[in-house]
């Protein structure tokens, strides 16, 4: 329990060691600690951002999916409508063609009937004239009675 110069030596050593620590130990380790803290903070922020990005992306994907489904539906409806319309048009066209063909056939038939009637009329007239000729040959002069015959012909 004696006091001696060891005390002062220890005092000086104390300050030298403290100075050394302040100079070479404390700052680098503190710097490393601070850097790591900021790295961790950045990492956490990035993770948060990634999480919110994921949510956004999921929402966008759902949106796109819904939109695609909607447009597909629309397309299908359009196609059905168009198909129905084409069918309708084709049916109308067919009906029109049929009607036109029928009209044409009827007209032709009428013309043919008319012509047949006229031919028939001529032939009847000839037949009548021939009959009458046969009957009247002896008593009637054809030339003399032409007017009468024509009149008869028109009346048929």
């Amino acid at each position: 329990m004696n006091l001696n110069a060891t005390l002062f030596a220890q005092l000086v050593v104390f300050f030298i060691l403290a100075w050394f620590t302040m100079k070479f130990v404390w700052p680098p380790i503190m710097k490393a600690l601070d850097e790591r803290a900021s790295k961790i903070a950045d990492g956490l922020a990035a993770a948060d951002k990634a999480k919110s990005d994921l949510v956004l992306a999921e929402r966008r994907a759902t949106d796109e999916l819904r939109k695609a489904r909607e447009s597909a539906n629309e397309l299908r409806a359009g196609a059905e409508r168009q198909g129905a319309q084409i069918l309708e048009e084709a049916r109308a066209e067919a009906a029109r063609i049929v009607a036109a063909a029928r009209t044409a056939a009827e007209g032709e038939a009428e013309v043919a009937a008319q012509r047949a009637k006229e031919v028939l009329r001529d032939q009847v007239a000839l037949l009548a004239v021939a009959g009458a000729e046969q009957i009247l040959r002896k008593e009637i002069d054809a030339a003399k009675h032409a007017d009468l015959l024509n009149q008869l012909k028109a009346e048929l």
Partner: protein
Amino acid sequence: MATEHAPTASEYIVHHLTFLTNKKQEGLVDWSVFHLDTLFFSVGLGLLAVFVMARLASRATSGVPGRFQAAVEIVIEMVADQAKGIVHSPESRQFVAPLALTVFVWIFLMNAMDLIPVDLLPLMGQAVGLHYLRVVPTADLNATLGMSSAVLLLCLYYSVKIKGFGHWMHELFTAPFGAHPLLWPINFAMQLIEFVAKTVSHGMRLFGNMYAGELIFMLIALMGAAWAGTFGSGLLWIGGVIAGAIWAIFHILIITLQAFIFMMLTLVYVGQAHDSH
């Protein structure tokens, strides 16, 4: 041992409590004497501590730390937190916080010398011709008072730096009782007593704990040394082993606690130097 015969118990204790000095101490206070063993172990351990930490610091990574780096970081963060809570000037902390770290690690290592078997290093010393060797620097009052005096100097330095010399003087004479001129001597005396009490108790606390701990290790070693082939001495030997184990385990707590207390008081005293009364 200087003597040829086996030492008695008191000779053994006295021998173990004698420092290795450059010359014989005359009287209670002799400023021409150095304790070479205290200086060797305290400087050696201090250099070991700061160089190991500096080596670590030079390759400290801000990425994933190794185990050793993580351990040192735990200590440093503990010290930094305490310093931040006690010393409120960031500028002072730039020196005081590393100082507190040094104090903690250094005193912890010096205290830990107590855990080395009490006769091991003295016997090795004798083998190279050193008759006396005390290996626990903090069980030397000179070492602990030297460190507490350093803290006192720090307190005086920061008192003047933070408050200014005039304001500090004013405080010395007007606190704690008041500014009445009649109270000046009393105030000043109280302040002096406070400084002396702080410093002496600061150093004495560490010294007392480590000195007592060392002494108990020696007594336990004496129990072990009582082995003489008889049944009673055999029991003493076993008792020595058990007591030594228990005391060493308990001492792990004490050396850490005392290092921590010395560091905390250093911070508190320096922090007080920043506060105005």
